[in-house]
Amino acid sequence: MLRPISLAAALMVSASALVAEEFRWAETTDPQTMDPHAVNSAAVLGFLNNVYEGLVRRGKDMTIEPALATAWEPIGAGEGWRFTLRQGVTFHDGSTFDAQDVLFSYQRASDEASDTRSWFAPVSEVKVVDDYTVDIMTTAPNPIFPDSIANWMMMDSGWAEANNAARPDKDNGNFATLNANGTGAFQLTTREPGLRTVLEPFGGWWDEAEHNITRAELTPIQNPATAVAALLSGDVDFINPVPIQDTARLAANDQVKVIQGIEARVIMLGFPHEAEALKYSGETTDANPFADARVRQAVAHAVNVPAVLQTIMRGNAEEVSQLVSPAMRGYSADLANRPAFDPEKARALLAEAGYPDGFSFGLKCPNDRYLNDESVCQAITGMLAQVGMRATLDAMPVQNYWPELRSDNYDMYLLGWSPGTFDAEHPVRFLASTPNEEKKLGSWNFGGFSNARVDELLPMIQSEIDDGKRQAMLDEVTKILQDEVAYVPLYVQPLVWGTQANIVLTQRPDNFFILRWVTVN
């Protein structure tokens, strides 16, 4: 009994002398797998960005920069993209990165069993030209293809095949679920799911290291109060997120820092455009007022977004007028004003639409998906009641919420959308296109909003190479969605991180925590 204690104590003493730059951080969710192609979730891709790399990567300002490819250019008149690969890159196990690995990673990431498949829907073929040149052919010209593959990570074909992990296996797991072999700045040394995941710097990394970390350990901490206590007591160096209600208290403490920014996620209200009648109304059981654009306009004017942000978000969020935040590519800068808070106008619009006394309806809301989502819905319920729209709020956990929305059980709902490609085309494809299972369009357009011009513009936007023309079309779509009030965009969700005072790091709007930008002073 005694010996292991003293041994461990001795180890700890020597360890604490060595690891001056040990960095410990806590997040709410543990990445569920170490396989970069199995699951398409921010928790997994965000973490694995430290271990694996793509052909391109995003810089501190979200712009695309060279990573494993040094250059790329369109082929011909937009038949595809040619990527020139970086030479002298090695994986963590020492094997060399070349074009075969790109082809393999394409096959693996676009496999039936992979969640990242949809990224490659525009791709018709991947051709290896030589050891360090790859052509990725697309079915139609695709100007934003390099932007859309920043999270497509390269895996070594030899390593995957030797370990029987040539295809991702989400259901039963395989070697790549618990192990990793990327080209990134850090290599995975310990993986205990749900307990801790340890990263150490990779000596053979091709790029110049900016960080001074010698070892980094991730622990998931679900309970926000525990995470805050862990930060305050110095047990961890970084937590994400900081609960909104604790920001002021932490900011007042000299030992820690609060880092705030805005996330890519836009929070909005959605409507049942196609429904014949309201589902949860006491009196309006034979009509659907929300089918009338004037009623939706009334909603936009009735919600006092600045007040919501001031009180519930403690001033940490920004209002928004469209489905993407200003930080995204393709944002329509000329359409930046959201409808003003004007209850009089809202009442007038309702009267004009034939509801002078308003109506009652059901508002569905998640209570554990977005920051303070239920409180926001409560506030909105009160504001709508001021103009006669009497909502009954039904808030529920997110795993019950999506099935409700899919079965059209709502009269109005709250939705947050973060564009995976960081481009304004993304929400048009998922939220504003007429739902079409075959073409994989409008898969999150629960209300079935449909506009012929939007449907016509989308493929043109997707294949337009000229930036000016593309932006003009995106502006037109944004204008239509605003005029029609397809959704009522409310605000961009805030991002609040907490660190010890001696940590310097960079916060990116996609909420990815990039370890290679961390400095411990």
């Binding site: 700890m12 969640d115 797991g173």
Partner: protein, 326 residues
């Protein structure tokens, strides 16, 4: 005796089957796991394919039957979230919970009995009354609040103890123990107090009232009259006779300590099965939820059985009664 055991085992199996049935009929209301398993870019076809692949499109009775089939062969399925066999995950997490439960159970029993005896003997003393008043806190404050208070006092303000986790662990043949390292032992202190406080006060109050009852009995008076020393009277005669109800309650509470470690484990991010269960609920990880609920019910049933058998051992009257009745 043997017939009794067989009957109890038979009843226990029935209880387990019913627990499983109720659990499976409830899973539908926990939500739909497919949204968590598929990304943002899923289509309706993906959702349906996954649902049928997981068997979620079948009635719950069929799902339950399939689970039983697997469970009978020791196969609890694969976790939806981690993509690994549930039995592996449970084996990894069990030591954390069992060590925590053992330490809190030990604290609860030893301190509970000691304080119970003390407050019974010094019924009117100031200290005894103070202990009784303070013990009200243990009974009435919710566990998570006690946990948070302890963290703020001992981790944030004083900085003596870690605020979360298990510290360093040592692997001894598949069993990860925190008993052998300094940080592991330190990490045990706050969670085990949090978890055991309710049971400790409960046992203390129980021992006290039982003891007061016994001390009034004639044989105690005779023992005193015989000139036995106070120590012998209190501990050999009085305490021994208070232990029968205490064992029942303690046995059942031991089950609760493990089952309700969920809250303590969440507050302290203690990597045990309770935390695993909470994660599983959030993710609608049905195989993990099912296996956990079944394990907990097996444990409760087993503890009840053991407690019943202990009666035979402790109280000779029960043995006589049983044989006389049959």
């Amino acid at each position: 005796m043997l017939a009794f055991v067989i009957r109890r085992v038979f009843q226990s199996v029935l209880v387990l089957l019913v627990v499983g049935l109720v659990a499976f009929s409830m899973f539908r209301f926990v939500g739909d796991p497919v949204d968590n398993m598929l990304g943002q870019e899923r289509t309706q076809a993906d959702i349906e394919r996954l649902r049928s692949q997981l068997g979620l499109d079948q009635p719950f009775a069929v799902q339950y039957f399939k689970f039983l089939q697997g469970a009978a062969q020791g196969n609890f399925g694969v976790s939806y979230r981690q993509g690994r066999p549930v039995s592996d995950i449970l084996m990894e997490r069990a030591p954390a919970t069992l060590e925590l439960a053992a330490v809190s159970g030990f604290l609860a029993i030893s301190i509970g009995i000691a304080l119970g005896v003390f407050t019974a003997i010094r019924r009117n003393g100031f200290t005894a009354n103070a202990i009784m008043s303070v013990s009200l806190i243990g009974v009435s404050l919710p566990t998570f609040l006690i946990g948070i208070l302890l963290i703020y006092l001992f981790s944030v303000e004083l900085g003596w103890l870690p605020s979360f986790g298990r510290g360093e662990t040592v692997m001894i043949g598949g069993w990860s123990t925190g008993f052998l390292t300094e940080s592991g032992l330190k990490a045990l202190i706050l969670p085990s107090i949090t978890l055991g406080l309710y049971q400790m006060t409960l046992i203390m109050r129980l021992v006290r009232s039982e003891m007061l009852e016994v001390l009034r009995q004639d044989y105690i008076r005779f023992a005193r009259a015989r000139g036995l020393r106070e120590r012998a009277v209190n501990f050999r005669h009085a305490l021994k006779n208070t232990l029968v109800p205490v064992i029942t309650v303690t046995g059942l509470q031991l089950g609760s300590i493990i089952a309700f470690a969920i809250i303590t484990e969440t507050v302290f991010q203690w990597p045990g099965v309770g935390l695993l269960f909470i994660n599983a609920i959030q993710f609608v990880d049905i195989p993990v939820m099912a296996a956990y609920l079944m394990l907990i019910s097996v444990m409760f049933v087993a503890i009840n059985l053991i407690v019943d058998l202990l009666y035979f051992a402790i109280d000779p009257r029960l043995r006589v009664d049983r044989t006389a009745a049959h």
